[in-house]
Amino acid sequence: MPTNVIMPALELAQETGKILKWLKAPGDTVSKGEPIVEIETDKVTVEIEAPASGVLGDVTARAGDVVPVGTTIALIAGAGEAAVARPVPAGAPAVAALSGPVVNVAGQSPPAATIKASPLARKLAEEHAVDLARVKTNSGRIEKADVLAYVERRKVARAADGTAARLIAASPKARRLAAERGLDIGTLHGSGPGGAILAADVGAAKAPLVAAAPPATVGVSNVWRIMAERMTASWTTAPHFYLVREVNVSRLVSWREKASKHTGARITYTDLLVKLVAATIAQHPGMNAAWKDGTIVRNADINLGLAVAIDDGLVVPVVHRADTLKLPELAARREDVVSRAQAGKLRPADIQGGGFTISNLGMYGVDAFNAIVNPPQAGILAVGRIADRVVAVNGQPAVQPTLVLTLSCDHRAIDGARAAQFLGALADLIEEPALLV
């Protein structure tokens, strides 16, 4: 039996995934575990690995297609097996367009190899970059004339695209005035014959306040859009509260120096904080929870998310079971996921299962900040920079390295007292890491 390649559900709420790029072509031999397709989900871009070894075939979703999760997008035929086309399971949800003007329904276009076409038609199609699947034919077999007719229609259609603006009725003077004033002729109301825009209509239109460049609209990536949606959802549904605590990090600083020397690895403060937060959460499991459908769901494992800024937004790769990892392992894991996050190469597993998030903006010189809870988690720890600050020690001012921690919480999942206990325990550990045992 051939093995199905399925659009995976990488998170609970995911309904569809978008095919970014096939890394393997139909007919290619693939090995189990080898990346075969790039998929963009609500959160990240991931490579899907071949679920079996064999020959890739029956690819039904093309680059750009948005496909419901659970849909078979290809088959991998084992040795001696023929890839058999399988219908999309009955009752599969219709393909939804998330974005982009064209959504190809999976399975709509037959693969090029199965299309009947004369050799000359194929040659012409290749020369003109024509997808034979789009060429109509009356004879059932695509011939030269069919391809040429398609090319001609495409030419006309492309030409029409460029003339859309000119199809607006407007006098030459109105066009010139609009252009001079930086007005879009299409936005004006025409008072002339047949609604034609006249010079007076341009005069009536309000010129942009600043005649200079209009504000630039920046198209956003899927990652950015999802960030915006999730933060809006969190901000508008999760009642936030914040606990702020300044901690002395003299010991933390010397610990990092010793640990780096001792292990030979590049240990960062974030690594130490992951270690300490994981240990604290083990004692305060209420912080590792989520508000879900009227109940509090406690997570079994201590999986800590790290907020990572990438070029097109924010992603939160997860260090799983952080409480079980030794420092060098933590550092290696952190370095791995952060670098892959920045390269856009996170795997589905990298972003799943986070229970609490740490966001560190200390490297940007930020003293302290209030983070927005990363839903459905109960809390996020905002970490500021380490700086020498004046503090009172035994009634005397003293200069010590300190760090300001701000804990943001979803009040539905945890209350102030329990969150304060967690933060207090964490602060104690930071000020005296030896307590870690």
């Binding site: 006098s171 030459p172 003077k173 066009r175 010139r176 002339g192 014959p193 006249l198 007076a200």
Partner: protein, 331 residues
């Protein structure tokens, strides 16, 4: 104190005065044509000239347009300055070879050694109930031909000034007088003056629409402008005075100012003077136009003999008024 400032002449008298003054000024000037001497021309425009200048300089000919046109071209090539009278503009068809292939070409084909300082004096204009062969306005035909200059006097003042310029010009000039204007009176200076070719005159300043009009259509346009003023539209009326050379810049500048233009001419509308001038304006004022350039010419039909029908074929104050109002979006 001469009464030059207020002296009025008819259009016909102005033409006669121009020819007489030039004949007195230059002995090489003579006039030749049908019924020009004793008859003083069927339109009575030349009355008295033969008495002053004699039949040696006011020469009656048989009915033979190609013949006397050829005499004129030959005389001009050999140093005379003839005024050739073609009674009706419709008859220039008979003299076309002399006008188009001879007069217009000789200077060029002789390498500039020969000049043809000739004036073809003829008429245009309908509504005289003269039927299809005596009512046409064919000035577009000669305006089309390189080597010819074409003048269209729109009133008595222009009739005298343009005629004198035509006679003094070293190139062949065809001057079309509107036969319906001979009795129209207007101020004409008694002293010597000329109107330069290729210089349009703004007859009336305005801000909303430019009406370019030729010959008697200038009067029509001025009448329309008055009607337009009553509905709050300010029309600028321009008389190009010569279709070649054409004062393109004045027309373009006006159209740029008003953003709208109508061209009115009594020649047939299709392929006509209106088309040429409209194209000049569209080309030069395109990015200043708020409406297409509108043309109003004579209906593209043989001019009817029926007075009712004939009147319908030519532009009128009313038709120009309505076209201008529609162009300004106030119809």
């Amino acid at each position: 104190m001469p009464d030059t400032a207020v002296r009025e002449l008819t259009y016909g008298e102005a033409v006669r005065e121009a020819i007489a003054e030039e004949m007195r000024r230059d002995p090489r000037v003579f006039l030749i044509g049908e019924d020009v001497a004793e008859a003083g021309h069927p339109f009575k425009t030349l009355l008295g000239l033969v008495q002053e200048f004699g039949t040696q300089r006011i020469i009656d000919t048989p009915i033979s347009e190609p013949g006397y046109a050829g005499i004129g071209v030959g005389a001009a090539m050999t140093g005379m300055r003839p005024v050739v009278d073609v009674m009706f503009g419709d008859f220039i068809t008979l003299a076309m070879d002399q006008i188009v292939n001879q007069a217009a070409k000789v200077h060029y084909m002789s390498g500039g050694k020969l000049k043809v300082p000739i004036v073809f004096r003829t008429t245009l204009g309908a509504t005289r109930r003269s039927a299809a062969q005596h009512s046409q306005s064919l000035h577009a035909w000669v305006s089309h031909v390189p080597g010819l200059k074409v003048a269209l006097p729109s009133g008595p003042y222009e009739a005298k000034g343009l005629m004198k310029s035509a006679i003094r010009d070293d190139s062949p000039v065809v001057i079309f007088e509107d036969k319906m204007m001979y009795r129209v009176k207007g101020p004409v200076p008694a002293e010597d003056y000329t109107i330069p070719f290729g210089v349009a005159e703004i007859k009336r300043a305005g801000t909303d629409v430019t009406i370019v009009a030729t010959s008697s259509m200038v009067t029509v346009a001025l009448g329309a402008a008055k009607l337009l003023e009553e509905v709050g539209i300010s029309a600028e009326v321009i008389d190009p005075r010569t279709t070649y050379p054409l004062d393109k810049q004045t027309l373009i500048d006006s159209a740029r100012k008003t953003s709208r233009a109508i061209v009115v001419d009594e020649g047939y509308e299709r392929y006509g003077v209106t088309a040429e001038i409209a194209s000049v304006i569209a080309d030069g004022a395109f990015y200043h136009l708020d409406a297409p350039v509108k043309r109003i010419g004579a209906m593209d039909v043989p001019v009817p003999f029926s007075p009712v029908l004939e009147d319908l074929t030519v532009p009128s104050e009313k038709s120009v008024f309505e076209a201008a109002r529609a162009l300004c979006g106030k119809a």
